[in-house]
């Protein structure tokens, strides 16, 4: 999935190079893997707000990651065989600003040690924006942190779900953070969670995001995952409404006033003819997620802290006493790995979108279908298939590759205009 968890340009849109790489466990068993692209660090599971659609468990747990845990992570990555020339550390899975500036200043120093092995570590955090103040802005300026703000649109959209524990909307507080970022000239990205309600208003959302000055906007879907067991997107018309939304948004943003993650990454793959990549979520080490107390997992970031009747949890070790590569020796890891690979094979055999997807999201497969060894999910229908359908068709239209008949239906955004008029 593309969770509320992920900073826009960091996430599950990532894919792996098509050439398989293998890593050996202690008993010489080989596993296909991805070089580390994204290290998700949970500085705290606590969040100062309580969004209705959040899938994260333990949002009231005020535990903090200790500096020693941060050091243990980067110490291990100094010699880990799956580290390449760069990766991004994303601070999230709770409200990261709660950890305070000194914590991140120390983490930057700790990660800078990887320069010894020629590895550049970028830092990014995904925040609800409500705690951004001038001190944070000064720190962001000095440290070149990349900032992602969770913002669902104007107050009418944002405040429907992004609320405090006592039910108040957080739009005003988030926007005061955004205003400060802009005043300090700090670039930021936005994650917007789309609910069924939002889908009928692409023009309003486009105008809003064009006005807030985000560098990139990413759309996540309100979906069934983790502790979020219900979604507004399960209504019968949601998928078609999502297609219309995307199509209209694509046209509105044809001059790219800001980058839309879903379009940008897919267009890059289409124009470079890349139809043989693996989803980074389907291989170990491409994404590593470390919880506040040092427990770690890999594959989908949403597995962090999750429990499942069939598997228990998804932690494969604790970095304070187990290097990341030790997970390869764990029976629990091997079971999950094997089932995820079977699920990916199932996708490859049954889905013609596989070439532009690479196996989807294991966590969605588990929480929607009840098994890693499964194929299509709601995430596939929305975040992959619908996006591919819209983007491919628009590009084909641009390059005269559609028949006149398809050209007419392919540019059916007038329908969405009509919806907007009807709703106002």
């Amino acid at each position: 999935m593309q969770p509320n968890l992920t900073a826009t340009d960091e996430t599950s849109e990532r894919s792996c190079e098509s050439m398989p790489l293998h890593i050996s466990a202690t008993d010489a068993t080989l596993f296909e893997y991805s070089p580390l692209q994204l290290l998700i660090m949970q500085s705290t599971p606590f969040c100062n707000i309580n969004c209705k659609y959040c899938y994260l468990p333990a949002r009231e747990n005020t535990a903090r990651m200790l500096p020693g845990t941060v050091d243990a992570v980067y110490e291990d990555l100094l010699t880990a065989p799956f580290v390449g020339n760069n990766f991004t550390t994303l601070w999230h899975a709770g409200e990261p600003l709660i950890a305070g500036i000194p914590f991140y200043a120390e983490a930057l120093r700790s990660s800078a040690r990887l320069a010894i092995r020629g590895c550049k570590v970028d830092h990014s955090l995904q925040t609800n924006g409500t705690l951004i103040n001038e001190s944070w802005c000064e720190f962001f300026q000095e440290s070149s942190f990349r900032i992602g703000v969770s913002l669902d649109g104007p107050a009418e959209f944002h405040d429907r779900n992004r609320r405090t524990r006592d039910g108040r909307g957080t739009f005003a507080e988030t926007m005061s953070g955004v205003t400060l970022l802009r005043r300090y000239g700090i670039e930021f990205n936005v994650i917007c969670v789309l609910t069924r309600y939002s889908l009928d208003f692409p023009d309003r959302l486009f105008a809003f995001f064009a006005s807030v000055g985000a560098k990139q906007v990413a759309f996540n879907i309100d979906e069934v995952d983790g502790v979020n067991s219900a979604s507004s997107m399960t209504s019968l018309d949601s998928l078609e409404a999502f297609r219309r939304f995307l199509q209209r948004f694509y046209i509105l943003n044809s001059k790219e006033e800001f980058e839309v993650r879903e379009f940008g990454s897919l267009r890059r793959d289409i124009f470079s003819g890349e139809t043989n990549r693996r989803s980074v979520q389907t291989l170990p080490f491409g994404i590593i997620s470390v919880a506040a107390e040092g427990n770690y997992t890999t594959f989908s970031p949403e597995l962090l802290g999750m429990k499942h009747p069939k598997y228990g949890g998804f932690y494969f070790g604790n970095i304070r006493d187990q290097p990341f590569t030790e997970m390869l020796d764990s029976a629990h890891f091997r079971r999950v790995y094997s089932e995820i690979q079977s699920g990916t094979q199932r996708c490859r055999a049954t889905c013609q979108y596989y070439g532009l997807c690479g196996g989807g999201s294991p966590s969605n497969k588990l929480f929607e279908n009840g098994a890693f060894d499964s194929a299509e999910t709601m995430y596939c229908k929305f975040n992959k298939k619908a996006v591919v359908d819209v983007v491919l068709r628009e590009i084909e239209s641009d390059f005269n590759l559609l028949s006149p008949e398809l050209e007419i239906t392919g540019r059916s955004f007038e329908v969405s205009n009509e919806i907007e008029r009807t709703n106002h």
Binding site: R268, F271, S272, Q352, G355, L356, D398, F399, N400
Partner: protein
Amino acid sequence: MKSRELTINERVDRIVDSIRRVQTCTRDERNAQSSADQLRLDQNENRLTEYKSIRSIWSAWSK
């Protein structure tokens, strides 16, 4: 006989081919084509120029 629908991968290949044709077609080759094909190439060339002004797309070619 009705032609089958192209697969997703074939559609991607077709887009890449179209772009490659614009990029590699010489003036003489273009002049030797029918006027309809020339018009299509000109349109695609214009579209390609527009696309190259879009940062996220251009980065796919400039890698």
